[in-house]
Amino acid sequence: MLKVLLRHPGAVLGAIILHLLLGGLFFFSFDWSEKPDLHEAGIPIAIITEGSLETQANSVAEEESAKPSEKQIIKEKQEATDAKEKAEKLEQQKIAEAQKKATAEKKKIAKKQAEAQKKAEAEKQKAALAAAQALKLKKESDNKKRLQLEAKQEEERLEREAAEQEKAIAEREAQRKADEAEKAQAEKAQAEAEAKEQDKKEQTAKLEAEQIEKEKKLAAKKAAEKKAEEKAEKEAERKAQKLAEKKAKDKAKKEAAKKEAAKKRAEEKKQERLAKEKAEKKAAALAAERKKEKEAEEAAERKLAEKRKAEEAERAKAAKEKAEKEAAAKAAAEKAEREKAEALAAKKAEYHRKWQEAQAKKKAEAAAADAKRKSDAEAAARNKSLEKAKYGALVSWGGKIQQHVKRRWHPPPGTKGEQAKVRITISNSGFISSGIQIKSCSGNPEFCASVKEAFERSEPLPRPPSKYNLSKSDRTITFKMD
């Protein structure tokens, strides 16, 4: 076939040209049909990434780095996924930062514009307002007036929004500091009010100034002057805006480039690290295995020999020791037995004497105790039934008092959690004979007064049980009011 081709170089050339043409056409048509619209820029990416089942950002990164370690990455899927997630997060963070920066930049620009506008407005207010009168007369100046009014409305809106924001902030602050001293709060409110008042006064002053100025009629000369000034101002504004826009664009570009580089670096590093780690792990694992085997063999041999030796030595040692011990024990035992017999005899005599003495004493004591117990028991039995009944009566009386006072206590609203302790002595007729002693009360004087009033209102209290002849201390009660 090669020969045939060599024989017909013209045909070969033709084929090549044909191929090139076809290729060109294909490329051109691809370029044409896939010409990306901004809103469709994501679509081709989606098509590619569908095949590899990767996330968009990652597939982009992989395609770009396209290194031999790619296969390894796919093999170590788990690790790779983790790393990817990390990279993703990093990227998201970066995007977020970039967005923040861009937003901040935009805000700054907006602020600058607003400031510039305000400043210009303030500087030229007199002239502008005067001009407004003149402009009314002239058709040409109609447009100018419109712009001025628009600027004013804008300023007012900004002021209004700022005021609203201030209000909202103040409110939040107030909420958070709800527990702080009232005085501070009142002062704060006052300060706010004063500030607002100041604002209002300024506005009023402005409006007054406007009115005065309106009444004055200005020469056409002044109007012309103003026009020129305004033109200059607008020019400056436009320039500032352009500059700001350019800045924002540049910044965004830079940011993107930075991100790209960072992404690449991260990917490269990750791959390097992964490869290295894997190799190291494998080598280490192999070496460790071999070493382990060798060591195990050697250790087994050594152990066997040692064991044999130790066994022999132990046997000899044990025999020797046994003989020695037996001899010594025999001698010691004989001696100890002799000594023990002697001591025992002496002890026995002493113990017997003591025991007799103790026995006599015990008998006497027991007799006395018995007599006492008997009489005590009799008394206690008598008392116990009385105490029990009395105690029961006291408790039921206490219950009545508790309910009685509770129904007559009207603590002031909003005093949840406040507590008081009160001590009173109740006379046999149900009146408070001791005075109402407030032992403790948590703060609020109104609450403490309500506790006192509750007892005053409760007189006469349920009368104490009469048949037990209660002592004063029996009739003294401490109340915990919560």
């Binding site: 607002k196 219950g399 129904r407 009207h410 149900g430 029996d474 401490t478 109340f479």
Partner: protein, 428 residues
């Protein structure tokens, strides 16, 4: 649980003994034989009131008196069937016999067109008799009797013989809407129309003598504050400045009316002399200041959004620095003050409820749990609060006790009911 708690303080035998009669008595552990002093705990949260038994009184007094006492949240009415052998008015009565059933027994009889009632304490058998003279409105006789009983037992002035003023609207969203200003008894009975208008009538406010009402009218496409005698119908215009004339509130001595006026720009609090009509400015903020309520002879609580949201503030009637009273929540307004208590509306997660606080204290208690509760007004003794609550798209009138133990919905004329105003004590 209670047992466990008690045994913490007492020996087991004692705690068992103790649990028999009542659950909440707490005694400190004692060394036998000497008994230690009793120690009792009394908690604010209780669900019952003072038990009182009202014997059947001919002429319909029983139901009215029972309803009054119940509404105060301070009494528990003992069922009529619990005592059957009671002797008639004036007859022999051994109180001790009923001591376990009730603390008090009320007996009564009609007397020269009026009423005689006796109040017997079952603990000491003490008896007090009251004679109430006749009245063109017989229900007022019963309310007066309830006031006597209330006062004797609680040692607090009764506020049942008082009135409510309120506004009703029929055909709320149509062009045929009709506004009516009513005055009724404090339990909603005997409603009488004081004023009718096609234009809104708002914010009725009682003069301290209970004879006149100040209110806002919107006749002729502008707002104005009028004062009208509820008996003679005589009225005069107190304020009709440019802009808004709203939220009148009489000073305690009845010589001045505080109100919110906007002729100077934003709504501010002013004090207007009830006779001369002279104005004194109290607040000067550029925010909304409205809903004044006198917290003393020389101080006013009002609503202001100067801090960004509506909150309550207090200021001297002569002006000066305002002190913020509420810090909790995004919406606190519509203060009404009586007997050192302050009822107000508090917004909480989209719901607006009635709350009550002590004028000097920090905390508050919720008194209602609807979603659109409005216009709280305290009885002159501060024991009850009337307010409106949305039920099936219509506002109805409710009364709740200051301890929220009792809540009653009052009968009222047809229509959407709004802005109740509780009268002062009546001296006529």
């Amino acid at each position: 649980m209670i047992k466990k708690f008690l045994s913490h303080f007492l020996s087991p035998s004692l705690s068992r003994l103790l649990l028999q009669p009542i659950a909440l008595v707490v005694l400190l552990a004692s060394s036998v034989p000497a008994l230690a002093e009793l120690e009792l705990t009394i908690s604010k949260t209780s669900d019952d009131g003072i038990p009182i038994y009202i014997a059947n009184i001919p002429g319909g007094a029983t139901g009215v008196i029972e309803g009054d006492l119940k509404r105060s949240g301070r009494f528990t009415i003992i069922e009529r069937s619990k005592i059957t052998n009671l002797s008639a008015f004036g007859g022999e009565l051994n109180g001790g016999e009923y001591n376990d059933i009730t603390d008090y027994i009320v007996r009564g009889k009609e007397h020269e067109g009026g009423l005689q009632v006796e109040l017997i304490s079952t603990s000491d058998n003490a008896k007090t008799t009251y004679t109430i003279s006749k009245n063109t409105n017989p229900r007022r006789v019963f309310h007066k009797a309830a006031d006597k009983i209330y006062e004797k037992i609680t040692r607090e002035k009764g506020a049942f013989d008082t009135r409510l003023a309120y506004v009703t609207v029929t055909n709320k969203t149509s062009d045929n809407r009709q506004f009516r200003l009513y005055v009724s008894d404090s339990d909603g009975h005997k409603p009488q129309v004081i004023l009718t208008s096609k234009q809104p009538i708002m914010s009725p406010a009682w003069s301290p003598d209970g004879k006149k009402l100040a209110y806002v009218s919107f006749e002729d496409n502008s707002s104005a504050i009028y004062v009208q005698d509820i008996f003679t119908g005589e009225k005069f215009m107190l304020s009709s400045r440019e802009g808004s004339n709203s939220a009148p509130a009489w000073s305690p001595d009845g010589t001045k009316v505080a109100m919110s006026l906007s002729f100077n720009g934003s709504p501010d609090i002013y004090i207007v002399d009830a006779k001369s009509g002279d104005f004194t400015r109290v607040t000067t903020s550029s925010a909304i200041d409205t809903e004044p309520s006198w917290s003393g002879t020389n101080s006013i609580v009002f609503t202001s959004d100067r801090g960004g949201s509506p909150q309550l503030y207090q200021i001297a009637a002569t002006g000066g620095k305002a002190k913020r009273l509420t810090f909790d929540g995004k919406y606190n307004s519509a203060a009404d003050i009586a007997n050192k208590k302050l009822a107000f509306i508090t917004g909480n997660r989209g719901a607006y409820n009635v709350a009550i606080k002590s004028l000097s204290g920090e905390g508050k208690d919720f008194l209602s749990n609807g979603t659109l509760d409005e216009s709280p007004t305290l009885s002159p003794n501060g024991a009850m609060v009337a307010y409106t609550t949305m039920k099936n798209g219509e506002n109805s009138l409710a009364v709740v006790s200051d301890n929220s133990k009792a809540r009653q919905f009052l009968t009222s004329p047809v229509g959407d009911i709004r802005e109740p105003a509780w009268s002062p004590y009546l001296n006529h």
